[in-house]
């Protein structure tokens, strides 16, 4: 059972790789923010699977921290990476 979680986590590395490829190639800044968002979600999942694979409950705290900090980093990207254009980001 333990190895299944570990192998599933390895598979998720492919998603990380895809996100990274999009981050490197991504034509627009939006693609890069998308990539950062993918990193966050995938990291949360990998850490949850590790928590089950290693049987270490503390890893769920790491996943919790990942979830929250990925959101803050993604918002930082949206609010700062585009600011050089200075257009209203999302006012109606």
């Amino acid at each position: 059972m333990q190895t299944l979680h570990f192998i599933l986590a390895l598979l998720l590395f492919l998603t990380l790789g895809a996100g990274l490829w999009r981050a490197v190639v991504g034509p627009t800044a939006a693609d890069r923010m998308l990539a950062v968002q993918v990193f966050g979600t995938t990291a949360v999942t990998i850490t949850l699977l590790f928590a089950q694979a290693f049987g270490n409950a503390a890893l769920r705290d790491v996943a919790l921290m990942f979830a929250v900090l990925a959101a803050v980093t993604a918002v930082a990207f949206v609010r700062r990476a585009w600011s050089e254009v200075g257009v209203d980001d999302d006012s109606e």
Binding site: Q2, T3, F6, I7, A9, L10, F13, L16, G19, L20, A23, V24, A29, R32, A35, V36, F39, A43, I46, T47, F50, N56, A57, A58, L59, D61, V62, L64, M65, F66, V68, L69, A71, V72, T73, V75, A76, F77, R79, R80, A81, S83, E84, G86, V87, D88, D89, D90, S91, E92
Partner: protein, 322 residues
């Protein structure tokens, strides 16, 4: 269970090459925005490496400070940079030959290779098993007042390091303030979606900070991880357009900033006056004293990290010339 070892070996080699490749990509990519994205990915992979090396405390700290806050700081700096000077070349990757002649350009590479060879040889020659100080830590963990060995080392066995290190953070903020103001940055007002996200997420972050502070006694967590979560809450508020009003900064800002360091010094003075060694807690009080120090440190670290993201002295009556 050789499939598990095989899977772990695949994971290790993937992460190892991934780290080196990401670091190289981040440092060599022409556009700065791409470098920062790849650097955030590098920080994330670093956190997964800490998880793999059974260093869960460090994984927490790396996620909060390494990938989260450092990424936000870099982005804020890049945004202010493009605002501050117009002609930042999008891809400023032109090799910098300047006065460095061609031969001299190879010197660093050769030097690095020699240093690398020496280091690799010495790392490989280290003894395969060495218990370091883990035996001493386990022996004294009982009287340290906390169960998590890392928190015990940070706050009790090597509490003096943490005392100095909290002052390093305060010093960084004082240094940033002494550099004077930054260009006023015109950022669009936050829309309803961002506003609700900030309103929902900030209390969650503050609750999480309290949870990590409490969890640090038994398991991974502690003052630095909790402080970083508070700092992330401060960063999120600033991203959502909140700026400290003039009234706010006058007293609270300084009081909270000084809370952690001042508490540490008071406890230190208390132990000296009581005739004990510096920072020597009586075993029965150790747990409460450590928690007290950690909560003070969490407040100060959180506010300092938010202040570092803010980047200049808030106008609190002491004029803010640049």
């Amino acid at each position: 269970m050789d499939t598990l070892n095989l899977a772990q070996w695949v994971f290790d080699s993937l992460t190892g090459t991934g780290l080196l490749w990401l670091a190289w990509m981040a440092l060599a990519s022409p556009q700065l925005i791409r470098a920062i994205v790849i650097f955030v990915a590098f920080g994330l992979l670093m956190a997964l490496t800490w998880v793999r090396l059974d260093a869960v405390d460090i994984a927490l700290a790396e996620v909060a400070i390494g990938a989260g806050l450092t990424g936000a700081l870099l982005l804020a700096a890049l945004a202010k940079l493009t605002a501050a000077q117009t002609e930042i070349s999008k891809s400023d990757h032109r090799p910098r030959d300047g006065r460095a002649v061609r031969a001299l350009r190879q010197l660093p590479a050769v030097l690095m290779f020699l240093v690398a060879a020496g280091l690799v040889y010495s790392v490989l020659s280290l003894p395969p098993v060495s218990s370091g100080l883990s035996v001493e830590v386990d022996a004294n963990l009982g009287t340290s007042g906390v169960e998590n060995p890392v928190t015990a080392v940070l706050l009790n066995f090597r509490g003096y390091d943490t005392l100095l290190e909290i002052f390093v953070l305060l010093l960084a903020l004082l240094g940033v303030w002494s550099l004077g103001g930054l260009p006023p940055q015109r950022v669009a007002p936050a829309g309803p979606v961002l506003h609700t996200l900030a309103v929902v997420l900030t209390p969650v972050l503050i609750l999480l900070a309290a949870y990590f502070l409490w969890a640090g006694v038994k398991g991974p967590g502690g003052a630095f991880q909790a402080g970083a979560t508070l700092g992330a809450a401060g960063v999120l508020l600033q991203l959502a357009g909140w700026r400290p009003g003039p009234g706010f900064a006058r007293v609270h800002w300084r009081l909270i900033l000084v809370a952690g360091p001042a508490l540490f010094i008071l406890v230190a003075l208390f132990t000296i006056v009581a005739g004990r060694h510096l920072l020597e807690y009586a075993p029965e009080h150790a747990g409460t004293l450590i928690l007290l120090l950690e909560s003070g440190a969490t407040l100060s670290i959180g506010l300092t990290l938010a202040g570092l993201f803010f980047g200049e002295r808030p106008d609190d009556g002491y004029d803010n010339d640049n």
